[in-house]
């Protein structure tokens, strides 16, 4: 802390108010506009909705098939988050605790997978998925998201497991607990804060992604939420009121998730989970 004097503190407050409003205004406008008619959005951009109605939400829901998109996004996000978290934690645990030849090299190998951004290697991934018949399938996206998430998650979890004292595991081993039991019953509960961070970061990453669905999904019924939102541009171009309603619908789950977990997330991010 810089230990500021009173006058400096007032400046700090003013800056924080400005920053918060720059962050809040776009959200506020988006949500307000989703309750307005097209006419109102154009003519009275600053006023509150005069006849707030859920009409836009209902129309957007039907036209963009949002219910379906929600289900697709939820299915893809949950499966890939659970997959990444489980695989990465077991992998990180083995790397951190077991002693075997090429252990360090294997860790480097899994980290270096991150060096070449997945978006740039999209052409061969696309062709590989095509030859496996996984284009235009949710499973294809899930496999991609699981693998994309592994390096970051392993990195974070391995560091965290390294910091967990060995004694508890050794005591359990002496008591005759099997390797699986030690991992499942002792290690996983101990690294819960790090697991929460991995899960949140990956969930946000997958739920928000637009690039991979844009390239891999062609069928409307398999569209994710980000694809569904983009339908209001182009095909129904300029239906701003519906676009805003769909934007609001797309951010609601993330907002709820965030309000529940943000404290845990921020304290995890700032207190040692990432070091």
């Amino acid at each position: 802390m810089l230990k500021l004097c009173k006058r400096e503190k007032i400046i700090v407050y003013i800056l924080l108010v400005i920053y918060s409003s720059i962050i809040l205004i776009p959200f506020f406008m988006t949500i307000m506009n989703s309750f307005k008619s097209m006419r109102e959005i154009f003519l009275l951009p600053f006023s509150l909705p005069s006849h707030p109605s859920f009409r836009n939400f209902i129309d957007a829901w039907h036209q963009a098939n949002m219910g379906n998109a929600y289900l697709n996004s939820a299915l893809i996000a949950f499966t890939s988050v659970i997959g990444t978290t489980f695989i990465s934690s077991l992998f990180a645990y083995a790397i951190s605790r077991y002693r075997f030849p090429f252990r360090r090299q294997l860790y480097m190998y899994s980290m270096l997978g991150l060096a070449f951004p997945a978006r740039l290697a999209i052409i061969p991934v696309f062709l590989m998925m095509k030859s496996l018949g996984l284009i235009d399938t949710r499973l294809g996206l899930i496999i991609i998201y699981i693998s994309v998430g592994i390096p970051f998650s392993v990195f974070l979890l391995k560091n965290f497991i390294d910091g967990v004292p060995l004694e508890i595991e050794e005591a359990a081993r002496i008591d005759g607990a099997s390797a699986w039991m030690i991992f499942w019953r002792i290690v996983l509960p101990l690294i819960r804060p790090a697991l929460a961070i991995v899960a949140i970061v990956r969930f946000v990453g997958v739920w928000n992604d637009f690039f991979f669905p844009l390239i891999f999904i062609n069928t409307r019924s398999k569209a994710t939420i980000t694809l569904a939102v983009s339908i209001f541009f182009g095909e129904y171009s300029n239906t701003w009121n519906l676009l805003f309603a769909s934007l609001t619908l797309a951010i609601i789950p993330i907002l709820i998730l965030f309000l529940i977990f943000s404290k845990q997330f921020i304290s995890g991010m700032t207190k040692g989970a990432i070091k």
């Binding site: 992998f91 070449f116 290697a121 099997s178 699986w180 939102v229 797309a250 991010m269």
Partner: protein
């Protein structure tokens, strides 16, 4: 079958093999093989619309892209994008991380609020700003008009450089919070006693920042810088929703998408992707190296 699996996972060796082997294979197929394949494709004439014409052309694709004026201007836009984005994000995030590290009322509320833009889909972000900046009825025009700063509505996204600048700001708006939290974490790891003793020695806030805070958080600054560089180099969603494939905002990433998926030029697209990746790798490498040099001195 069930018993067999149980037997495997109950021994350390079995459990280790069960996870290490499949993950190693998965990473190979999803990360290493694509890199190798990209290189192979980059040496071929490969157009998805003329698949029968696919043949080896050596480094021709690279030379062709390097001599293309569209590449040079896309490169300029990307470099500009990255430099401005890194500068803005690092300085804003640094400033607000410092503020959020102070003790004040409502700190935890603001901390939660500040991270929000990072959590929303970039596509939503792009559309939001598309309206805020709309030339006929957007928010920014309305606001500036009401306040008397402009007398006519201004089409913000029409002028090429302005469009690129707004694309950068849209990205900065979303990405700054994440970096702020990273830096805040680094700030919190500095023990308070260090500041106290500096204050006793008569160092003012600015001196304390330059001589205590900055050196101590340098490793995190380096990580933040590389993260911002990588993400700003590969921004896609925001530009796609904000201006689409408009030439004004055609960065290397957009150009690559257009080559590969709009025109079906997988060979050229792979060559370009390779060049982008190598370029990013070199930037990160030299930066890390220069930092380590400084630390050693």
């Amino acid at each position: 079958m069930r018993n067999k699996l149980e037997k495997i996972i109950n021994s350390e060796k079995g459990l280790a093999y069960l996870i290490l082997v499949p993950v190693t294979v998965l990473i190979f197929f999803m990360a290493y093989l694509p890199v190798i394949q990209s290189f192979r494709f980059s040496l071929m004439y490969y157009n998805t619309r003329l698949p029968w014409k696919t043949h080896f052309v050596g480094l021709h694709n690279y030379f062709r892209i390097l001599s293309e004026p569209a590449f040079l201007s896309a490169f300029e836009r990307s470099a500009y994008f990255v430099i401005i984005a890194v500068g803005l994000i690092l300085s804003i995030a640094m400033g607000f991380a410092l503020l959020l590290n102070e003790r004040f009322k409502g700190r935890s509320v603001i901390r939660t609020l500040v991270i929000l833009p990072w959590a929303i889909p970039p596509v939503v972000n792009g559309f939001m700003w598309k309206w805020l900046l709309n030339g006929d009825y957007g928010f920014l025009n309305g606001l500036l008009y009401q306040l008397g700063f402009i007398s006519t509505y201004h089409p913000w996204l029409m002028h090429p450089l302005a469009a690129l600048n707004w694309a950068i700001l849209t990205f900065v708006w979303r990405f700054t919070p994440f970096v702020t939290i990273l830096l805040l974490g680094a700030l919190q790891s500095i023990p308070e006693e260090v500041y106290d003793s500096a204050k006793v020695d008569g160092a003012n806030a600015r001196t304390r920042f330059w001589y205590i805070t900055l050196p101590l958080i340098r490793p995190m600054l380096a990580i933040a810088l590389i993260v911002i560089m990588i993400y700003s180099f590969t921004v896609f969603d925001e530009i796609y929703t904000l201006t689409g494939l408009d030439p004004a905002t055609k960065t290397l990433m957009m150009y690559d998408y257009e080559l590969a998926f709009e025109r079906g030029q997988f060979g050229l697209g792979s060559a370009l992707a390779y060049m982008i990746a190598i370029f990013m790798f070199l930037m990160a490498y030299f930066y890390i190296k220069s930092i380590y040099k400084e630390v050693e001195l």
